[in-house]
Symmetry: C2
Subunit: 426 residues, 2 copies
Amino acid sequence: MSAVAPLSSAETPAALIDRLARAGRAAQRRLARLDSRARAEALRAAAAALRADEAAILAANGLDLAQGEARGLSAAMLDRLKLDPARLAGIAAALDQVADLPDPVGQVIDTATRPNGLVLSRVRVPIGLIGIIYESRPNVTADAAALCLRSGNAVLLRGGSEAVHSNRAIHAALARGLASAGVPAEAVQLVPTQDRAAVGAMLAAAGLIDMIVPRGGKSLVARVQADARVPVLAHLDGINHTYIHAAADPAMAVAIARNAKLRRTGICGSMETLLLDAAFPGAPAVVAALLDGGCELRGDARTQALDPRIRPATAEDWDTEYLDAILSVAVVDGLDAALAHIAAHSSAHTDAIVTADDAVAERFLAEVDSAIVMVNASSQFADGGEFGLGAEIGIATGRLHARGPVALEGLTTYKWQVRGTGQIRP
Amino acid sequence: MSAVAPLSSAETPAALIDRLARAGRAAQRRLARLDSRARAEALRAAAAALRADEAAILAANGLDLAQGEARGLSAAMLDRLKLDPARLAGIAAALDQVADLPDPVGQVIDTATRPNGLVLSRVRVPIGLIGIIYESRPNVTADAAALCLRSGNAVLLRGGSEAVHSNRAIHAALARGLASAGVPAEAVQLVPTQDRAAVGAMLAAAGLIDMIVPRGGKSLVARVQADARVPVLAHLDGINHTYIHAAADPAMAVAIARNAKLRRTGICGSMETLLLDAAFPGAPAVVAALLDGGCELRGDARTQALDPRIRPATAEDWDTEYLDAILSVAVVDGLDAALAHIAAHSSAHTDAIVTADDAVAERFLAEVDSAIVMVNASSQFADGGEFGLGAEIGIATGRLHARGPVALEGLTTYKWQVRGTGQIRP
């Protein structure tokens, strides 16, 4: 029932990826001819198959957990790997939710009639074959496949070795459910080897794989970005700034700073650098709230004068994504100094200002060139679900195609449809 | 007056490109703060400077032409290189036209208010620094710079050695005109060396140059696509098909086939393969019209039965972009066979159908996955001007960011602006 093609012993990783990618592309063309309702029904059938396979999937996951413990994986890694009935139900429910999302394929972006009568339309179409390279979270197998299929794309999944049994069991269930609804088996393929050369072959498969999405830690993303010949949708860092302007509401500044840093410290949208305007009278209260909340602060000389508990920052701190209860803090002299600091150190993920001055807010929104720019809100809102996209395949800090949280629309491109009545060019 | 930085003798090409790119990025940030009207005025000032420098530019062009003749350039190359008062006036007029185009920067793509009151907008912003690598046409110096500046981008121009004096003279005029209107000099830079290693350095400058647009022949585009670590906007080939369906109007089929192939044979939108439905009764007339128009036809066995003047095609012909009065022709059995031929051989540039059957036309529009898909029109309309874009920086056959003719909108990306009133994430 599985769409995992057997790996012949003589086949190199590059030949394997070539074969899987060609099969995936062919399946995508058939998938693209299914209508939106059929693709949604297939996702619901896949969700049902996941629920039906609960025992098999949890047993496979138990194997992975046992191996992980034997290999000495950290508690955090084991937690990311672990499935239980509630988590599996959540994965299945997410498939149903993606099925309910509006389908971007076929949407007309714009249309125009030329003076010669030609009617031109730009219409959204799937990108083609998406490669997903991910680490220990087995839910990515289902989540990423669902977003790709909902938008008419085929997907080639390459999960981490820690989750190999879980991924195979989840993939087998998905494949059975999708096939029952008429989706070609090769539309969702799992790379059937843990040979790391297969990852290299995916990254090199320009023209066969249309886009790669890495899902995992910084070292994975850095490797993918460094080596890929295929376009990559990703962010490497979330070095996110919150600038508290002189005219910020003091209570709002405290609430946003605490939330942006401490609600969850390990997500890519968390604040990593706080910029305090020298003219903001509430700075000591913001600093105290963060310190009292258990956050380590590393500041420049002017910041240290605010509170003796602030440690000295090194040059490196301004370019560090802590993903922890640690924050770099600087005092800046006004908006221009804040903009200069952000231009020099931001990773272009999410930068925010807190201010009651609308003109200052608008300058910040216009001049900070990050994927997401916020006024008077916590940077922890940087998330596809919070943005109303229903889900996300990832957050992109590149400048082309799609930026910020990317969901179904970012998994499409467009083509020009031209309807004539016999026009020839003079 | 020129923005060309002097090349220190000790500076490697990589160091040169690094320096120019950093200067260009810094200038782009200042450029982005100019409003739309100021950028348009700057282009008009640049057009005026080109007109004022006519004598100097034509003298520089004369040097290039003399060198080109001495180096034995072909007549076609010399013609592409040559400027005269009329051509220079056309280049200046094109700058004025780009100044008149609507500015995409700041356009709000969409906006939504979340249940928590956050207001999210996607707003168009410039991509950043665009690299243009081009061959002998000196008009590209002005045209590409104008499109980049109109959309708020800085540009790094690397022209061919044949046109070095012309490019420098045009660039000097542009730089003077732009500076008079407040555009930073480094917003338009000409790479001041013909060392080919500078091209390699541009292609490797990921993170410094945001997008490369090659403008020139197939070998240039192929080299750029093969070596670039920076995203490339380009098309390699225009292997464009026109399929004459059984239900095509015979007179329309003749007119479109002749125009698509023979109006101009050397442009990327010209037809390179004609697919004749076996059930189309007008096939002999289409074939005769092309042969009588001076076109060499290379066909499969069934095609050769239509007219003895058709030569046998080799397997290679189906994948050849002739850019000449040569055409490959095949007889196909119905829409599905035509779709299969196109899927196998198209370069995804522009493919067309001629038919009076709307259902067939819609299937063709839906299932052919090329950047441009046409019904009952000549593929020679594949052009930014004809599409109403006012100009084009190029035609893209890649799948991400922008497809088909690309003008100002394709030179922008977007950012998310989020306006809150103190929201924190629960």
